[in-house]
Symmetry: C2
Subunit: 151 residues, 2 copies
Amino acid sequence: MDGLDEGILRALVADARATFAEIGAEVGLSAPAVKRRVDRLVATGAVRGFTAVVDPAALGWGTEAYVEVRCEGPVSPRELRRRLVGIPEVVEAVTVTGRADALLHLLARDVQHLERALERVRDELDVAATESVIVLSRLLDRARPGHAGGD
Amino acid sequence: MDGLDEGILRALVADARATFAEIGAEVGLSAPAVKRRVDRLVATGAVRGFTAVVDPAALGWGTEAYVEVRCEGPVSPRELRRRLVGIPEVVEAVTVTGRADALLHLLARDVQHLERALERVRDELDVAATESVIVLSRLLDRARPGHAGGD
DNA sequence: GTTGAAAGTCGCTAAAT
DNA sequence: ATTTAGCGACTTTCAAC
């Protein structure tokens, strides 16, 4: 990991489908040299993969919420994960410090759909309490280029 | 947007560097047909872009937090955004319903670094109160393939 | 260890059907 | 939407640093 790798990462985050020659032009390397470094970044795990940034709103999923969940009794992260994978509206889930056990990020078509998804979360996890906030606007999203107001 | 487009989106989210022929094999289309549909998905905004999923931990950014922020007096989302862009540790920011004005997602090298970033947030936003939780483990991350425990 | 150059292969893209 | 064909990019090999 040196400055060249950082430049390559910047280029790949900005556009994962950039050609090796294009990336090379940005960082001052030939295409084969870039490929070798990209292969290494993937092999070492610095790059986990390449993905498309899909606009949920364009697919009619315009409602977004973050939900803190506190469960009845102790729950293992593994078990938590197992129960949440089956709920497609849960797009992100982390365990956290503090009063809550987990913080969930939900995506839904509308508020009714969100409510149904939350019911399903409560069913799956036997939840003691939840605290939800609905997203009004997305200001920033550095992990997903173009996904928020003019990054 | 039909079933074929959905299949193409699935393939691109799974691997943004997949060739059109590979995607075509998955959804049952020829490479040129896939290219036309991908071009249309990008043009209509359903696909906002393509990005690399970088593992922050592999770069030494192992500390992650979510922070609810309540500001003194009313603040416009635009102004909020302007002030947060300058803080690189803030990787995500949304405005939300409820007591808080904004929910921030922060990435830092360690807890000390996180504390400094939080001080900077407080300086930039004249904050009335913050409520932070530190991420213990990431269970699920559907937007970033391979970024959480065995998606 | 690294890089850059060349050659062969493969994928991309524009046409015609 | 597919097939074809021409072009550009990728990937391997090799020589040089």
